[in-house]
Symmetry: C2
Subunit: 337 residues, 2 copies
Amino acid sequence: MGVVVSLDEQPRNNGIDGLIGLARPGMERVNQLILDKAGSDVKMIPEVANHLINSGGKRLRPMLTIASAEMFGYEGDGHIKLAASVEFMHTATLLHDDVVDESDRRRSKPTARMIWGNQASVLVGDFLLGQAFRMMVDVGEMDALDVLSTASAIIAEGEVMQLSAAKKLSTTEDDYLAVIKAKTAALFLAACEVGPIVAGMGADERAALRSYGLNLGLAFQLVDDVLDYGGNANDLGKNVGDDFREGKITLPVLLAYRRGSDEERIFWRESLEDGDNGDERLERARGLMSRHGALADTIGRARHFGAIARDALAPMPAGPQKTALLEVVDFCISRLN
Amino acid sequence: MGVVVSLDEQPRNNGIDGLIGLARPGMERVNQLILDKAGSDVKMIPEVANHLINSGGKRLRPMLTIASAEMFGYEGDGHIKLAASVEFMHTATLLHDDVVDESDRRRSKPTARMIWGNQASVLVGDFLLGQAFRMMVDVGEMDALDVLSTASAIIAEGEVMQLSAAKKLSTTEDDYLAVIKAKTAALFLAACEVGPIVAGMGADERAALRSYGLNLGLAFQLVDDVLDYGGNANDLGKNVGDDFREGKITLPVLLAYRRGSDEERIFWRESLEDGDNGDERLERARGLMSRHGALADTIGRARHFGAIARDALAPMPAGPQKTALLEVVDFCISRLN
């Protein structure tokens, strides 16, 4: 069962290819820096770090930093270091998340904690976070340090918030949005805002990229939530039903729960709160979401945030970076097809 | 069985009381800042953070920052924020350490992970680290950020090094010193070096406080290692034998192992590598350490680093701060009595 919805009315674009092409020269330097800074004489560190770094992620976040700086004509190397910092912060979060969620697999590969243990995952995450801050310090832009260190605290706060809300089907949509704003969108926001900062731009450009990043991040997470119930495991590198089996409360679940009958609510509680989550129950969950329009409406919410992200960029200078960033919004949502 | 050794030839002093008295006004502000910055609407965060923050630690590290800045006449509030950052970095490390070591108790109280779980301990540690960086950014001294972010990466690297070396009795003394230099002494070093930085002093003062902190940290850790085999549980707030039961390789163990007979080496391997570590075996371990002078010689090493720490401070301006910092060296070693 795939989710097929008509997206917005705009003509389709090349998705993320524009961004990838534009960011390529910068990303080659970012990737080299990532390899350097994940290095250590303690050989377990590069082993664990590279397992995740080389796991086939798109590196969307550092590409956003590259494009957000270059759209203002920046030509130094500060954005390279900041982009690598952003990717390290993301990698550290994934390492810690997999420990917290007791995840066995990520992108169809065993998680680092399954190979090297929880201990190494916690500590190598800490190491990458430390290296991220060293690279930021090396850039020497206090405002960028402010934005990224604030993101770091907010991301952790969001994860704790999610832990507290975990398995509570009474979570409201607003509460859920607060969680994903912190745990996902805060890093998108920071990755985009440090671009104009390092390029020496003023408050308007910072605010525009900040709003773009925040709303793109919200759309990205909501689409991710949908893909977990409606996508194709091969396309995603994640297994359909992972969130269900881990008892994660996401927006499609919250909508289906709220809109369901008393009997359906008992089904959701047994599945997500009590852990009765076999394959036939996953199928029933998908059926209930379909009946109540929970996936389609989550996509609708994602499209709402995507529209805000596009409008945020509107007053920014036209050029290939702006075009590419606008296309990324559509890419995030069109992942659904 | 207590360890009773004659310490150095200098007359005894008031230990840590001088530092506590001098740092009191600053520490009142540090403690207030700690409470503020450990706060969050996500109520699990202050619960977990305060459990550890209020656990009766002496807050030696932030006191070192206060004294290291005030010895140069610094009167601003940058050292308050840096001291709180140092304590947050320390607290985050403890939260993660307890997860990595699977520790049940710290300072005779259940560890945070026993009350709130490993997940909360990992994430609240991440939050405190993020807040620490925000406070450093708030101070706006790039050199202090450099020193503390470097310490952050080095501490994590040291923990991974220890994980890799864990339960290997073939570890050399040099390798062990490299581990404790990273995992313990690096934060003492940073806590002391940011004092002259925030006070606007030059390279000589930074180098002096850096060397003082590094060597004090090494002495401190070695004495801690001794206390785990020879101290009194009530005095320490830690249980004698914790390191033994956790299979931790520390210098007293390494010395007793190297100096022991083949049969004794089998005993050590069974105890620390294979986990056969009951109370009667702890008694035998203590007996072997005594026979081979392992505790006394570890104390000798600690005294060696303590002497370097004292000499590092020698050219610094005389005054109550210098006197108090010199007394701290003796205090660290005299904890043994």
